[in-house]
């Protein structure tokens, strides 16, 4: 999901949003909402947390509109706010002592919708692993950019990414066994 390139209009739009222009605020929120929700839901495990993080992120984006300098696209600039908000939310969850345990679902599922299946895969990963995987594969950030966003070294990002990929790989290959056993999958 690469970010669209930015234009001079974005600077103007954000300046208006910073001045609390209702139309500009609505335009910004409408344009970014899907991306914000997608990123929040990808980074956080349950819908309630993602919904909360989406709201907080969008609000922060509107409140910080005056700080947009056009050095990157509006979407990339907004992503940073979303990632930080989502990671804060995840950290708060951990601090409260609630783990991902309650949200774990079986790998055996009935859906054939690829996005639902991938969602299930992601939900089985730890938060750091999911974060790097989503940012790298879902939003096409470079290793260095992810390192900056998540405040860890590039080597740590690589390590987390490889571990996350291996975890998903194990699930995918195990599910293929399930498909084969049930006759759903066919030999190539």
């Amino acid at each position: 999901m690469p970010a669209p390139s930015h234009t001079a209009e974005d600077l103007q739009l954000m300046a208006l949003a910073a001045a609390a222009d209702p139309t500009a605020q609505r335009l910004v929120a409408t344009r970014l909402m899907e991306r914000v929700q997608r990123l929040s839901r990808s980074l956080l495990q349950n819908n309630a947390d993602a919904s909360d993080a989406s709201q907080a992120s969008l609000l922060e984006i509107l409140k910080s509109a005056g700080t947009f300098r056009g050095e990157s696209s509006l979407e990339r600039w907004a992503d940073r706010i979303v990632v930080r908000t989502a990671l804060r939310s995840a950290a708060k969850r951990r601090a409260e002592g609630t783990t991902m345990w309650d949200d774990i679902e079986m790998a055996v599922h009935g859906s054939s919708d690829p996005s639902v299946i991938v969602r299930e895969y992601l939900d089985r990963l730890s938060e750091p692993a999911r974060t790097v995987l989503v940012l790298r594969h879902g939003f096409e950030y470079s290793i260095e950019e992810i390192a900056e966003l998540t405040a860890v070294s590039p080597n740590t990002v690589k390590d987390r990414l490889l571990r996350a990929r291996e975890a998903i790989r194990r699930i995918v290959r195990r599910e293929q066994l399930l498909d084969t056993a049930s006759g759903r999958g066919g030999a190539r």
Binding site: A20, Q25, S40, Q55, A107, D113, I171, S182, A187
Partner: protein, 492 residues
């Protein structure tokens, strides 16, 4: 294909993921390999599809409106609920006391049966005005529509409908449901549910106001939350709380009952609140996120949605019963060893006999088992969980020792556990799979068994099962989760 044969493909894929250069020759090798190896092709598809992941039941339009509202609202009380929850604890506590007082005031008002006094609604944002005097508002496409000022009755036809009925309050009516809004005036707004089901989502309300839904059976007053009230086909009324907290007060009774998030209760029932099932929760959230401009989420027509709603209502009459049968029986039973669990045949014969097609019982009928398994998956995808469970049972009964039958058993366990609130049945299914022999789904079955034991509150058995699982499967995401669980159990 064996993992070792895939290793070169995996290495190239991983190198590319961490930003290393991949040559054209290596890319050609990958394509050639994927053409003959389903595992690697599936894995590649997963990486590609990550871009389309997520977004299933987020309240997008509501988020947009609430954020825009909050961006213009300087006061804490005007912020949307989730943003409100993100406030520092001290401020949350103060505001919580205010909201609690609102609920209490509303409850006292109902108890005393005071005549209702119409007071103009306090304006929160420029989009909202008092229902008694406001002209209809035009909102952007896709947002819930504001209830017209003079409207006293809202009825959903064959499709669900959502209305912004009051500042910060959205009500979604299931197909065939009806409410009246005559008493929807501040400060103690009450929505009267005439028939069917209504799901309400509230942002924190102006201090001194409250919001409730009343039926003939009683009143449910919110303390800033998402909740639903449903009049069942048999006349009973169910109150369910998705988020936050509500106060339930049966008509003609001074007794109040507080319902927390994730709980449901039959109004007027002396029993304690029961846990909200995942099915009910999804059903309520599905209605709340229903968009009239996008009714065919999966190609459904409005009439089909209405039919599904009806089916769900019928199922819900059964599932609304607190799970006394299986879970209570399991709780009262002495704790057997992991290898002496209830065998599956004793736990599943009745539904199989009741639902299996005649040909499913024919010996050696592998094709029917496969068909039944496919049917079960389709039903599950549609949300028809009880029917899916019956199909899984039928698939198992038709081929109890074959791959399809045994796969059905593990899938049945997962379904009973996740959707049908039957951990005892799930445990029997997983044990049935594991006790015969350990097949390719042993890891899933063992993991499911642990979850079932946890749901049953069988602490020691769960602990033993986790330890056993970690010995057999020391690596992988399940193991990571279970280690954390084991650590937390050790700390208790």
């Amino acid at each position: 294909m064996r993992r070792a044969e895939c290793q070169p493909w995996i290495d190239i894929s991983d190198r590319e993921a961490i930003g290393e250069i991949v040559t054209d020759e290596e890319r050609r090798f990958q394509r050639t390999h994927e053409a003959t190896c389903k595992s690697c092709a599936d894995e590649a598809a997963v990486w590609r599809s990550l871009d389309g992941a997520s977004l299933d039941s987020v309240l997008d339009e509501q988020i947009l409106e609430q954020v825009l509202l909050a961006a213009r609202a300087p006061r804490v009380e005007d912020a949307p609920s989730s943003i409100f929850r993100a406030l520092p604890m001290r401020r949350r506590t103060v505001a919580g006391v205010v909201l609690g007082a609102c609920a209490l005031a509303a409850a006292i008002a109902v108890m005393a049966r005071r005549p209702h006094v119409a007071v103009p609604t306090a304006s929160i944002g420029e989009h909202f005005v008092a229902p008694a005097v406001a002209p209809p508002q035009t909102l952007p496409s896709g947002t819930p529509t504001l209830a017209p000022a003079t409207e006293t009755r809202i009825a959903a036809g064959t499709s669900p409908t959502c209305r912004m009925i009051s500042p910060g309050a959205t009500a979604c009516l299931g197909a065939g449901s009806e409410v009246t809004t005559a008493r929807l005036v501040s400060p103690r707004r009450v929505l009267d549910l005439v028939r069917g089901r209504v799901v309400v989502s509230l942002a924190p309300q102006t201090p001194g106001t409250s919001f409730g839904v009343a039926t003939a059976a009683g009143t449910v007053t919110a303390v800033g939350t998402i909740f639903s009230v449903e009049i069942m086909a048999n006349g009973d009324t169910m109150a369910r709380c998705e988020r936050g907290e509500v106060v339930v007060q049966p008509t003609g009774s001074g007794a109040e009952q507080r319902l927390l998030a994730g709980e449901q209760v039959r109004i007027g029932d002396a029993h304690a609140a029961a846990p909200l099932t995942q099915h009910d929760r999804r059903r309520d959230l599905a209605l709340l996120t229903y968009r009239e401009d996008r009714p065919a989420a999966r190609g459904e027509k409005p009439s089909e949605i209405a039919e599904r709603e009806e089916r769900s209502s019928a199922r819900n009459e059964k599932s609304a019963e607190p799970p006394r049968g299986s879970s209570e029986a399991a709780r009262t039973a002495s704790e057997p060893s992991p290898t002496a669990m209830t065998p599956v045949p004793t736990a599943t014969p009745a539904p199989v006999a009741a639902t299996a097609p005649p040909r499913a019982a024919e010996p050696g009928a592998r094709a029917p088992a496969r068909d039944l398994l496919g049917r079960a998956r389709a039903l599950r995808t549609q949300g028809a969980f009880r029917e899916a469970a019956d199909s899984y049972r039928a698939a198992y009964a038709s081929d109890p020792h074959g791959a399809e039958g045994r796969t059905a058993l593990v899938a049945l366990g997962g379904l009973l556990l996740s959707e049908l609130n039957d951990p005892a049945g799930a445990l029997a299914a997983f044990d049935g799979y594991l006790n015969e022999r350990k097949g390719v789904l042993a890891q899933e079955a063992e993991f499911g068994r642990i979850r079932a034991l946890r749901a049953l509150g069988r602490y020691e058995s769960e602990k033993a099962a986790i330890q056993s699982f970690l010995v057999d499967h020391p690596e992988g995401p399940d193991a990571q989760v279970l280690r954390r669980r084991l650590e937390s159990m050790g700390a208790k």
